[in-house]
């Protein structure tokens, strides 16, 4: 007979998969995502129909597995967030520099080159007269 807790460890082992957006009420003074999952797993556990002994055994196994997964997942999240932030900042800086070069430096150099050519023309003409 299947139970609400069946396959929890399998779910944790694979990739996160797609997500669903849900609306939850405001007003809790804690992370709403964590609160929603706290409620979700509390309801799932409440729906388990295992006998007391069997439930304790299953929960014991699951807690050990979850304890082993929690740290690496927290580190993975930290690493991805950090990389995301660093790359976003680096990309913004480089894009800003490129915008500055393309929008200011290149037109300025082109205009100066035009002015230099005009000055060369004038200097050559003056040299011929002199």
């Amino acid at each position: 007979m299947s139970d609400a807790l069946d396959g929890v460890e399998l779910d944790l082992a694979g990739p996160p998969g797609p997500s669903i957006d849900l609306e939850i009420p405001d007003g809790a003074d804690m992370d709403p995502l964590y609160l929603a999952f706290l409620g979700l797993w509390s309801l799932v556990l409440g729906a388990s129909e295992l006998s007391d002994d069997e439930r304790e055994r299953r929960l014991g196994e699951l807690v050990v597995r979850l304890q082993g997964r929690e740290g690496p997942l927290r580190f993975e999240l930290f690493e991805i967030s950090r990389r995301h932030e660093v790359l976003e900042r680096a990309g913004r800086i480089v894009a800003g520099e490129s915008r500055l070069k393309r929008g200011w430096l290149v037109p300025k150099l082109e205009a100066e080159i035009e002015a230099y050519r005009a000055r060369i023309e004038a200097l050559r003409a003056a040299l011929e007269v002199a």
Binding site: L12, G17, D31, G39, L59, L62, H84, S98, L109
Partner: protein, 163 residues
Amino acid sequence: MTRVGLLARDVDRLVAVRPDLAPSLGEAMFDAGLAHRRCEPELDDLPESFVHLAAACSSYRARIGPLTASLAHVEDRERASYEEQLVLDRDLLPPLREEAKRLRAEIATLEGALRAKGVDPSPIGPRIENATVVDDAGPPRLVDPRERRAEVSMFFRRIREDG
């Protein structure tokens, strides 16, 4: 109301065992979460530990998914920015700088020729105010520390000899 992105697999699990909650899942999870949080957690309480650990793992996984997808876009954008920068620095700017440098040298030669004939070149033709600094000294050179040390020792040897 606050919108949260939950793992579809976890939501499906809840709906499978509690289909009665499907019409108001968000409220049901919120209420159950608050009720659970009010319980005093005990370290050796297996159900309590399970719920907290499962919620922590699920919330990390729920954040990792979208962040990983977003990271791929950020990496692409960052790469595109660098490539654009590279095109500018390698293909677009150096020829312009070189041309400006060449023209400035030509102007200097012509001005010198005019001065040699006794003509002041400064009022002739358009003047270039606040010209962009064009590196006339060539590309930057990596200075070997040994070379610098040799220069310093030469300097001290010279002032000792002068003294």
